[in-house]
């Protein structure tokens, strides 16, 4: 079992590229908060594993060429301190020619819901990053956060986020408005495209899921606030197609669940969805495979027990790996389960008694890993069987 720790204090080798020093600090940004536990990971086409996290100096990235045996010195992607409340965390993606994109939400006030979505990128393997650019083209001091990032095969970065510009406009017009909205922008690293609204009435506080379809078009899945007030999920292909309802539990609640969905798309176009609901006073994680047109391939399947949460999905060919974490009263355990024709039994692959990040999944070249950062054990990359 491979196990690598990634301790925030051990950054003696921190390199600060000169380009990063020209980053402008947001005037109203919060003082440096305690670094969060979230570590996001991404793989380049060359199999290099990249990590991004919030460190004492700002947004830090590093990489490993041997699945976490050794990591490069940490490199500063941005001196800004990203918002990291709830499910919010910096994201990283690797594009054509090894271009590295890092996106995060910059808090603009002491009220953490006010922020801007920021994007930096590097063309020299992380040695230098562009100054941070704001992705949202509405610059009101309101909610623009919970960014989600993917890079397509052509090297274009696709970002979606939760945006309250329509809610604020409705408030000014004294009109009712449910929830927030999902907005979308593309970037080639140099230019950021005009923002496009994907849907009105998203939930305000759950992370968004984003995955590339078989033809390279991004597909988004998010918790929505439907007309009857239920916070189930909606899905949209970001090619101008309209959003459709994707989950149907009817969880009606005026609350912030702080629990967003996961999405992966198989080589056959199957949409794999996993989400949290507490409809009917029964808190649970559900998984369902759906056809391109939304037709379910089976009824939703429950994952884990009553404390299961924060699902992750990874499609490998036509199979899928599912991961989640679950508290047993004294420790939190990370579980994985495979579906490829049949189902493997759920397997506990790691545990921790302290606070932990959500589990994340990565695969490359016939190998798959669970990435999990915990306060007490540090960052671990745990090898998984491939379905």
């Amino acid at each position: 079992m491979k196990r690598r720790t990634f301790l925030t204090g051990a950054l003696a080798a921190l390199t600060v590229p000169t380009a990063a020093q020209s980053h402008s600090h947001a005037a109203a940004a919060k003082p440096a908060p305690r670094p969060a536990l979230a570590i996001n990971v991404a793989l380049g086409a060359d199999g290099r594993l990249w990590r991004v996290r919030h460190g004492a100096e700002g947004v830090l990235v590093d990489f490993s060429d041997d699945w976490g045996e050794r990591f490069s010195p940490a490199m500063l992607a941005s001196p800004e301190h990203p918002a990291a409340d709830g499910e919010l965390a910096p994201e990283i993606a690797v594009g054509k020619g090894g271009a590295i994109y890092v996106a995060y939400t910059l808090a603009r006030s002491h009220n953490p819901i006010i922020g801007h979505v920021r994007l930096v990128h590097s063309l020299d393997g992380g040695r230098s990053f562009t100054p941070a650019a704001t992705v949202n083209d509405n610059l009101e001091e309101i909610t623009h956060r919970f960014q989600s990032l993917v890079v397509d095969a052509g090297g274009v970065a696709h970002l979606i986020w939760i945006d309250k510009r329509d809610l604020e406009a409705a408030k000014r017009a004294r009109k009712p408005y449910r929830g927030a909205a999902v907005y979308y922008a593309r970037s080639d690293g140099v230019h950021i495209g005009a923002n496009r609204k994907i849907a009105d009435h998203s939930c305000e506080c759950c992370r968004l899921a984003l995955a590339l379809d078989t033809d390279g078009v991004p597909v988004a899945l998010w918790r929505h606030v439907f007309e009857d007030g239920s916070r189930d999920h909606a899905l949209a292909r970001l090619d101008g197609s309209s959003a459709r309802r994707a989950t149907f539990e009817g969880w009606r609640i005026d609350a912030c669940p702080h629990h967003g969905p996961a999405l992966a798309i198989g080589s056959d176009g199957t949409r794999h969805l996993a989400w949290y609901t507490a409809a009917g006073n029964d808190a649970r994680i559900l998984y369902q495979a759906q056809e391109r047109d939304g037709r379910p391939l089976a009824p939703p399947r429950r994952l884990g027990g009553g404390q299961a949460g924060f699902p992750a999905l990874l499609a490998i060919g036509t199979g899928v790996i599912l991961a989640w974490k679950e508290f047993d009263g004294s420790a939190t355990r990370a579980f994985v389960q495979h579906a490829s024709g049949g189902w493997s039994p759920p397997a506990s692959v790691a545990s921790s008694r302290g606070p932990s990040d959500r589990p994340r999944l990565v695969a490359h070249g016939g190998r798959a890993f669970l990435s999990w950062n915990t306060r007490d054990e540090g960052h671990r990359l745990l090898p998984l069987a491939i379905p």
Binding site: I113, C205, I253, C256, H258, H259, T332
Partner: protein, 160 residues
């Protein structure tokens, strides 16, 4: 003399004179909160800084607090220990600066949630209306005005 003392003691947790500091909530804190209020009703309000519905609920609670100054509200923020100052500031701004305030400490949030209610999975706001016998009703989402009024009516009977 004894009666006067008793009366004073009864008033203590109900109407603190000024804003108390925000304390760190650990897996034994709920017991501390309950044992400070033997035989008395109170409301335990779970919230976070990034929860817009929580701020809406605070407006309702602040109005209720003005109308019923002895209403015993205990706020517990799930933001984590670093947020204590901002938590206190937010409550003060909402007109709830005199209420007891806690913030999730260093233990795993799921462990702290478990110590409050195994059925509660982190959605906010989450409000527990405790009766005099400390039987609690948990409500997820913005507290409906009628639920609060009904509880206040019942709570009043125990305050005489």
């Amino acid at each position: 003399m004894r009666l006067v003392l008793l009366a004073l003691l009864c008033l203590l947790p109900l109407a603190p004179a000024r804003a108390a500091e925000t304390k760190h909530f650990d897996s034994a804190s709920l017991e501390t909160i309950r044992s400070a209020r033997p035989g008395r009703p109170f409301a335990l309000v779970l919230w976070s800084l990034d929860c817009s519905h929580c701020r809406e609920e605070m407006k309702l609670l602040a109005r209720a607090k003005r109308r019923h100054p002895r209403l015993d509200l205990v706020f517990v923020s799930t933001d984590g220990p670093d947020a204590a100052a901002e938590v206190a500031r937010t409550l003060a701004t909402a007109g709830l600066g005199s209420a007891e305030s806690w913030v999730f400490g260093a233990e795993a949030p799921e462990k702290l949630r478990w110590s409050i209610d195994r059925k509660w999975r982190g959605e906010l706001p989450r409000t527990y209306l405790y009766d005099a016998a400390h039987q609690a009703t948990g409500i997820s989402g913005r507290l409906p005005r009628e639920r609060l009024s009904a509880w206040l009516e019942e709570a009043k009977r125990f305050r005489r």
